[in-house]
């Protein structure tokens, strides 16, 4: 019985990653290259294509992994011109957010930018590498100004202030950087809680966990509009407050 279950996990995993791989190749030749060559607003078009690609991926997930229920708050899809702050529990988190937000950008580990095709895709999508050379000096101001324009045009920036995935689902420390970026752009913050993605795709595992009944939930726990001009404003305090809201939401959900 266990072998059949493992086999199911393996087959579904291979199907999903096959879509990811071959779908990316098809998107590359049929959509990304024409967009690269002919689109008037390449960044925006690339973001929309990635949104479409990931949307198809999660439609397949829903069709193949019937025991996983998706509960996506409608308001999440309607977020615009905001800095979205999320907890991070699985590799699925960023691609799930891309599948919900048509105009999105984020800060990505710089090593991903060196991967052939993927790096090209990230750069043309207006994503920002977290490498010191991009986040220091004049390059940082250029990146921040691009984020500001992106937000002003209705796009969103999503960031995981924990920096990396939590291995045990518990929140780790929040880096204040994203809050300074929000202040620079004078943007509102949407605190979005992700749950259950680590049940479907566990950190450290290659296989999707398709056998367990699980629930993936995405919801806004708080919308913050800080008074950035206030004498008392502090990015570090805002980071601590935001983390406390997440702690509270996680513990309330655990009590249910």
């Amino acid at each position: 019985m266990k072998i059949i279950q493992r086999l199911t996990d393996l087959v579904i995993t291979l199907l999903l990653w096959s879509y990811f791989l071959f779908g990316s190749v098809a998107f590359f030749f049929l959509l990304y290259i024409p967009a690269y060559l002919f689109s008037k607003d390449r960044v925006r078009t690339f973001q929309k294509l990635s949104y479409l690609h990931m949307k198809i991926f999660f439609t397949l997930v829903r069709l193949l992994v019937l025991r996983t229920k998706f509960v996506i708050q409608e308001e999440v899809r309607a977020i615009r011109s905001s800095v979205i702050v999320c907890n991070h529990i699985s590799y699925l988190d960023p691609i799930l957010l891309i599948s919900l937000l048509p105009q999105q950008c984020t800060i990505v580990k710089s090593t991903f930018f060196t991967v052939p095709f993927f790096g090209w895709l990230l750069r043309n999508s207006g994503y920002i590498p977290s490498t010191p050379s991009e986040m220091t000096g004049p390059a940082m101001i250029k990146n921040l100004e691009n984020i500001k324009k992106h937000l002003a045009s209705g796009g969103n920036l999503f960031v995981f202030p924990e920096g990396t995935r939590s291995r045990n689902g518990k929140l780790t420390e929040f880096n204040k950087g994203v809050f300074s970026i929000a202040r620079y752009c004078a943007a509102p913050l949407q605190l979005v809680l992700l749950q259950g993605t680590n049940d479907l795709f566990r950190p450290g595992s290659f296989l999707f966990g398709t056998r367990n009944f699980s629930r993936i939930e995405v919801k806004i726990i708080r919308c913050l509009k800080p008074d950035y001009a206030s004498e008392n404003f502090s990015a570090a305090v805002l980071a601590d407050q935001s983390r406390a809201f997440f702690e509270d939401a996680v513990s309330r959900d655990a009590d249910r």
Binding site: M135, G137, P138, M140, I141, E145, S180, S234, A235
Partner: protein, 88 residues
């Protein structure tokens, strides 16, 4: 705003925002206090608040190369002079 006032206000910002008490005027902020690029952004926003106007993108880029309190004071003085000369 004279140099002494600028220096005093910058030191206030460091105490309030970065919990750095009495930084040396020529200390390398990165090496001595672990001042990073995100701190530099925070400092720029505080300087804007102190001056009461928004800095241009070019002015902000210049600030990202600053390493010491003395250089910050020079930078603020230069911006004030430029604005006065431009009649703003």
């Amino acid at each position: 705003m004279i140099r002494e006032e600028i220096e005093k206000e910058i030191k206030n910002i460091f105490r309030r925002e970065f919990e750095v008490e009495n930084p040396g005027l020529d200390d390398n902020l990165r090496e001595a206090y672990g001042f990073d690029s995100i701190d530099a952004i925070e400092l720029l926003l505080e300087i804007e608040k102190m001056l009461g106007f928004e800095l241009t993108q070019e002015e902000k880029k210049q600030a990202m190369e600053i390493r010491t309190i003395n250089q910050i004071c020079d930078y603020v003085e230069k911006i004030i002079r430029a604005r006065v000369a431009a009649g703003k």
